[in-house]
Amino acid sequence: MRAFHGIARRLGQRLLASLPALFGVVVFTFLLMRVLPGDPAAFFASGPNAGPEEVEALRREMGLDQPIPVQLLHYLGDVARGNLGRSLSTGQPVVDDLRRRMPASLELTFCALALALSLALPLGILAALRPNSLTDHAVRLLCTLGVCMPTFVSGLLLIYTFYTLLGWAPDPSGRIDVFVSQPPEVTGFLLVDALLAGDAEAWLAAASQLVLPAATMALFVLAPLARMTRASMLAVLTSDFIRTADALGLSRRQVVLVYALRNALLPVITIMGIVFSTMLGANVLVEKVFSWPGVASYALDALLASDYAPVQGFVLLMAMIFVMVNLAIDVLYGVADPRVNVG
């Protein structure tokens, strides 16, 4: 009960503390919009051949003739109401576009994270249990090489190997083979929807499309995660309380899994926030390489087409995800470490 209250209070505090950051991002995106080269009204007008009157009318309509603080207030109001403007290229409200494409990005990111964690943790632990062994050297080499490999290069090389050369992977474009019927949309996550529909064929098709991009992204974050796991496990294994546990005859299993691992995971949890946000960044590159129809490729296409409302919406969305992820990590940490609830 006490622990629960502690976590709830901490959650509240963190939520409050992240509000300024969120506000900062909103203002920042607004300012980006303002300093964009050229006249926003001209972009939003029907085309390059729009007359000056039309642009002027649009400017008034968009409130661009108002002083900047007033414009900021309007903008904040719009954001609060969930109105992020309209995309020029798709003609749809940005919010709808983002909502439609969000599951694709999240599915990819979560699968990659799960993959990375399920590899990085055992590898890091194994390396730490036998320092300077062959395993340890192999893991360290992997970590060193992993951080040096740009996602866009590793993604392309994976495509070349598994699609072009071996032919094991499907055509690297999109989330599901065009000839396979999509499962009825429930959550937007194809793997989940296919399961819900009991459609094995669709599930396999979606999964096989997902393997390469998820592996690419997992490779990218595998290195920092494994490195951190190894380092913190090594530090914990030489700490006093492990020696105590050994001195009092606890089993190796108990010492490694309960005493060492749980403590070693604490620093890993704290870097999860940074890892997750680098993944959000890497998403842009991976989605482009694999023509993945997620929010990042949507924002990138819009950016290259000088269509700024989607970019703004995308940055805001990332900020929101980032706040939620950090809150989740805080809760997780609060559960894992009793010391944080004090004071």
Binding site: T244, A247, G249, N263, A336
Partner: protein, 549 residues
């Protein structure tokens, strides 16, 4: 006589380091019978902890038993594999460590940690283990034991954590308990309660105990037999009264002499230092040098120093005694003008230096008059400065010496005054021993010829033999240079030897002030009496050799 519980025969342990193999134990033999208490005493690097870890087979990867034999209840465990050791550890032989808070798992409740030990050796349900853990906490005299079962180590004090450690160690009624510096880092009063508990518990349950400590007095008070270790060898082994009454080995004699007692004086700590000149006559007491009135320092909510007033005459040495959290370090920083007080005045030689903010005090002419000697000598030296540069720094800034011969000469002089060989002046701190670092720190403090030296636990981090040398050096410097001392320490014995007058601090307040001898003979405050009682005293017969000199 029955077979010994534990026997160590000609044990050798080596550590592989980047400088090759280093022998930590060079063939030691020890034996211990059921129910016996053995103290292993030695200074840092003597191999006493390595002995304990070797017995428990807990040496880290770099350490290896290269020769010899360890047997427990007649069973050879010198090279026994983990599956043989694991049932023994905790159940037949246990160990408790220094720094109890770090020795407990920070994210597991103490109840669960005790239960883990119980369930590792006995088939118990979680419920039964928890009940037993509660009984154990009661046995180590933790108040409200059932509520404490759900506490995490960070919610308990250091002394409480050590009691929890003891509860874990005795949980399965082992025949042998090894205590490795169990009270180092704890306050004197806590040390006494923990040691009393430890000795009563082992006696009541008929356990044998090995107490490893650097404190000869502690070992003497609680052990039936003491082994003295030096550089990986046991140099002498005897019951306490024999060890103190008639130490045979030269090292033991030095160690016994250097360990401060109620009777010892600065001179008696170093009986062999005949080369030391006879103490110079004390400088005649001058006028009032320091006058502190109503000093208060608050940090965010807590009051570290609470309305403290005292004075110090020129040439006098004043002791400031208190346990951790008493505010003694804060007080010394206030006097040194490294910290601004919340209220109160500090008058030095008639001028109110307390009115000068700490951030601007480096420009004040009195900056060179008040200097500081630190507890952690190594940590008080800039790792990127050589010994020469460290000593030269105040000379350049406070005595106005530029680079040149005068500076060279004065640094050389200071080094000579503190007994630092001139060839060490080019070395970096990490290339110096603890005693040498202390000398550099003292040389730096006296370089600009201060009038007041504030000494913040100057020997707390040193071995007793080095401590004796440094104390003698400080005392000589005070007399010869006509310095005044504000000597801060937790150790009443040291303060008694070094100071004419003593102030006792508790929770930021002065609880007693008086002449050293009077305060020692008849303390007025209950707290002072408690502090005095907590000093381990080991001389059953006062005929300690060396006191005569």
């Amino acid at each position: 006589m029955t077979a010994p519980l534990l026997s160590i025969e000609d044990l050798r342990v080596g550590f592989s380091t980047r400088h090759g193999l280093v022998e930590a134990l060079r063939g030691i033999s020890l034996g211990l019978h059921v129910g016996e208490t053995l103290g292993i005493v030695g200074e840092s690097g003597s191999g006493k902890s390595v002995t304990a870890l070797a017995v428990m087979r807990l040496l880290d990867r770099a350490g290896r038993i290269s020769a010899g034999r360890i047997s427990f209840r007649g069973q050879d465990i010198t090279h026994a594999p983990r599956h043989v050791l694991q049932p023994l550890r905790g159940a037949a032989m246990s160990m408790i460590f220094q720094n109890p808070r770090a020795a407990l798992n920070p994210i597991r409740t103490v109840g669960l940690q005790i239960a883990d030990v119980l369930r590792a050796h006995e088939p118990l349900s979680a419920r039964e283990a928890r009940d037993r853990a509660g009984v154990l906490l009661e046995a180590v005299r933790i108040r409200d034991p059932l509520a404490r079962l759900d506490a995490y180590p960070h919610e308990l004090s250091g002394g409480m954590c050590q009691r929890v450690m003891i509860a874990m160690a005795i949980a399965c009624e082992p025949a042998l308990l090894i205590a490795d510096e169990p009270t180092t880092g704890l306050d004197a009063t806590t040390q006494k309660t923990v040691m009393d508990l430890l000795s009563e518990t082992t006696a009541r349950r008929g356990m044998a105990m090995v107490l490893i400590t650097h404190d000869l007095g502690l070992a003497a008070q609680y052990c039936g037999r003491i082994a003295v270790m030096q550089q990986g060898l046991v140099v002498e082994e005897a019951p306490p009264h024999k060890l103190f009454g008639a130490p045979r080995h030269a090292y033991t004699r030095r160690l016994v002499a250097a360990s401060p007692t109620r009777q010892s004086t600065i001179a008696s700590l170093l009986p062999e230092a005949s080369a030391a000149p006879p103490a110079a006559p004390a400088v005649p007491r001058g006028g009032r040098l320091l006058e502190v009135r109503g000093l208060v320092k608050r940090f965010a909510g807590t009051t570290a120093v609470d309305d403290v007033s005292f004075h110090l005459d020129a040439g006098e040495s004043l002791g400031l005694v208190g346990e951790s959290g008493s505010g003694k370090s804060t007080l010394s920083r206030l006097v040194c003008r490294l910290l601004d007080q919340t209220a109160g005045s500090i008058r030095f030689d008639g001028t109110d230096i307390g009115a000068v903010p700490a951030r601007g005090f480096h420009r004040n002419p009195h900056r060179r008059d008040i200097q500081l000697v630190f507890q952690d000598h190594g940590g008080s030296l800039n790792p990127r400065f050589t010994a020469f540069q460290s000593i030269a720094d105040p000379l350049k800034l406070l005595a106005g010496l530029g680079e040149g011969e005068a500076l060279q000469r004065r640094v050389g002089e200071c080094a000579e005054r503190v007994g630092l060989p001139a060839e060490l002046l080019g070395r970096f701190p990490h290339q110096l021993s603890g005693g040498q670092q202390a000398r550099v720190g003292i040389a730096r403090a006296i370089a600009a010829r201060p009038r007041l030296l504030v000494l913040d636990e100057p020997t707390a981090a040193l071995d007793v033999s080095v401590q004796a040398v440094i104390l003698a050096l400080l005392d000589r410097l005070r007399r010869e240079e006509g310095l005044s001392f504000l000597f801060v320490s937790h150790d009443l014995n040291l303060v008694r030897m070094m100071c004419q007058r003593i102030i006792v601090l508790q929770a930021g307040k002065v609880v007693e002030e008086g002449k050293s001898d009077a305060l020692f003979a008849a303390p007025r405050a209950a707290y002072t009496a408690e502090l005095l009682a907590a000093i381990p005293h080991f001389a059953p017969e006062p005929s300690v050799p060396g006191t005569a000199g």
